[in-house]
């Protein structure tokens, strides 16, 4: 070790050394506070910015992997697959859009459903893949949701849904709209069996998803700053021709207006949900690890 290296304080030294081994592309910038973050730190923090707490969007499978106890999740209704009933075509064919979305996301549609355990409590959970055609709800999303609810009833488990969706899928026409009725109706059965439905609204939850099961939770939780609403902000702005108030349709706005029960940091979600569900099932309080 040269005399120069000896006089550098250890903190700086570590940084200088690590810079050598970090390849490019492993840094990312927080879209909210613009802090430059080491991607691994973001990964280890559930994609929440360690500096400002900004919640980045996450994929369906990652969401469920973070939610369930390790290696307990198994997929439900993954074999239910989309069809292009209307032979819908705009600038692209619906069939081609589906294929592209599948290539990009490795998913076959916008909802992934699994059963597993959370802090040892058996649950069924569904999560939207927003990158799959904007998390839009068509026939497959509706059917997978219902099969998830059915599995919850069969296994006497709570049902949790993490929403992230632009709304109904236009490419399936009225079939998509009817998924609102179908998913909402399924929840009447879950209720009849006195099983909890926890709806978690993540960024963004809009349109037909927001106006159906997502706002029908026994408890409705939102992630901080998530955009949640029926009509999109642009449509509203065009309709009312005035500037929207600060923070309009954000989770905090909804909490203030009494539309949701609570806002929970992603890193606390599973603990909160387990506490709520064990209480609603009149089970002993969980020993949370």
């Amino acid at each position: 070790m040269s005399w120069f290296q000896k006089i550098i304080p250890p903190k700086i030294k570590r940084r200088a050394e690590s810079r050598k081994v970090v390849p490019e592309g492993l840094w990312s910038k927080c879209p909210s506070c613009e802090a430059v973050l080491y991607t691994a730190d973001l990964d280890n923090n559930m994609q929440v910015c360690p500096k400002c707490g900004h919640h980045n969007r996450i994929g369906a499978r990652q969401r469920l992997a973070l939610f369930f106890d390790e290696d307990t999740g198994s997929e439900i209704a993954g074999n239910v697959l989309p069809v292009d009933t209307l032979k819908f075509k705009d600038s692209k064919k619906y069939a081609d859009r589906l294929e592209e979305a599948t290539k990009e996301t490795k998913e076959t549609d916008a909802l992934v459903v699994m059963e597993g355990k959370v802090e040892n409590l058996p649950m069924v959970a569904a999560a939207f893949e927003f990158r799959f055609m904007g998390g839009s709800m068509g026939s497959v999303v509706g059917e997978r949701f219902v099969r998830g609810v059915d599995a919850a009833i069969k296994g006497k488990r709570p049902f949790v849904c993490f929403s992230a969706s632009g709304g109904a899928r236009m490419q399936e026409g009225l079939l998509s709209l009817m998924q609102m009725a179908k998913t909402s109706a399924a929840l009447t059965q879950l209720s009849a069996h006195r099983l909890p439905f926890i709806s978690v609204l993540t960024d963004p939850t809009m349109g037909g998803v927001s106006a159906s099961f997502a706002t029908l939770g026994d408890v409705i939780i939102a992630e901080p700053n998530a955009l949640i609403g029926f009509a999109g902000p642009r449509v509203i702005e065009q309709t009312v021709r005035e500037k929207l108030p600060e923070g309009f349709q954000r989770a905090e706005f909804l909490l203030e207006h009494g539309a949701i029960d609570l806002i929970v940091d992603r890193r606390e979600l599973r603990k909160t949900i387990v506490r709520l569900c064990t209480a609603m099932l009149r089970k002993p309080a969980p020993k949370i690890s």
Partner: protein, 321 residues
């Protein structure tokens, strides 16, 4: 009332104008022109038949939005008796974009609920163009609960561009108001018969559209998004609305073939507004049939049927697991 003609009806409009002109001339004409009038009337009829025989989806949506088309209150006044309109959601306000109350249908007490559009500028504004706010849906739900309590069947009439996209509507929970109705209607312990009489605009329509029978008038539409909205999102231009209308499959025959509605109620030639009396009679018969059918089922069986029908919505394939 003078008929307002749509763009695609202009050839009919021209003929009708000519007929009217001749009609006023007839009084002082030295020659008999009644033959000519009869000939033109026949021609107009044939032309109307031709045009209406092959309406495309976009043209149908023009008819569905026709400013002279009968609205919910017209049907209530002509098909029901003793209507007492009931107001308000008991929490915030009364929403004039949805009307409802207790009435009698063929002597039997029932609850009626429907979107209401306005006839002139002032009333259109008052009715907010038939676009409900949360309190409208909550009023509807309150009336449905009333119907359930007193074992009255429910008739709903759907005619809205959609739920209102406004600041106040969002603040008061537009999403929840719609969602709650879907949930409540799925298990409401009384028969529900829904009819799309004009525009079935998305979630705002569906929020009073879950039931045991769903009927559509021949020239009504029912869609997940307005053709204009869909065009501006997917084609990046609202001008492509006619293409979007076709692609979305919003007409009654198309939706019947998809199994999403039960029956189509025929309209008089040229649309419901051309001959409202015939329209009322056609709908009365259809509603009588629907009520008789749902009445034949014991309530529990009816609710099971309703649930099964809701679960059956959707088209997908299943890969072997």
């Amino acid at each position: 009332m003078k008929v307002t003609f749509l763009d695609f009806e202009q050839p009919i409009a021209e003929l009708e104008a000519k007929i009217e002109e001749l009609g006023t001339m007839q009084g002082d004409a030295s020659v008999d022109i009644s033959e000519e009038i009869a000939r033109l009337k026949k021609k107009s009829l044939t032309l109307t038949r031709q045009i209406y025989g092959k309406l495309n989806a976009w043209q149908v949506s023009q008819v569905a939005r026709h400013p002279q088309r009968p609205y919910t209150l017209d049907y209530i006044q002509n098909l029901f008796s003793g209507f007492e309109e009931l107001h308000g959601d008991r929490a915030f306000a009364d929403d004039p974009a949805i009307v409802g109350g207790i009435a009698r249908f063929e002597g039997e007490p029932v609850v009626v609920i429907g979107h209401q559009k306005g006839r002139d500028t002032k009333e259109r504004q008052y009715r907010n163009f038939g676009m409900p706010r949360p309190e409208g849906y909550r009023k509807a739900m309150r009336l449905m609960r009333l119907a359930e309590k007193f074992k009255l069947p429910i008739f709903t009439f759907i005619d809205t561009p959609g739920a209102y996209p406004g600041i106040g509507a969002e603040e008061r929970g537009q999403s929840e108001a719609i969602a709650r109705n879907l949930y409540v209607m799925a298990e409401l312990r009384t028969p529900i018969i829904c009819t799309v009489i004009g525009e079935g605009g998305s979630g705002g329509a569906l929020a009073i559209g879950v039931g045991d029978r769903v009927l559509m008038l021949q020239n009504s539409t029912y869609s997940v998004i307005s053709p204009e909205g869909c065009a501006s999102i997917l084609w990046k231009s609202a001008d492509k609305a006619s293409i979007a209308a076709e692609a979305l499959g919003i007409t009654a025959p198309r939706l019947k073939s998809l199994g999403l509605i039960d029956a189509i109620v025929n309209e008089p030639l040229g649309g419901a507004h051309r001959d409202p009396e015939t329209m009322y009679e056609n709908l009365r018969e259809a509603l009588e049939d629907a009520l008789r059918e749902v009445r034949e089922r014991p309530l529990n069986a009816l609710l099971n049927d309703r649930y099964a029908r809701l679960m059956g919505y959707g088209k997908f394939k299943e890969a072997k697991a």
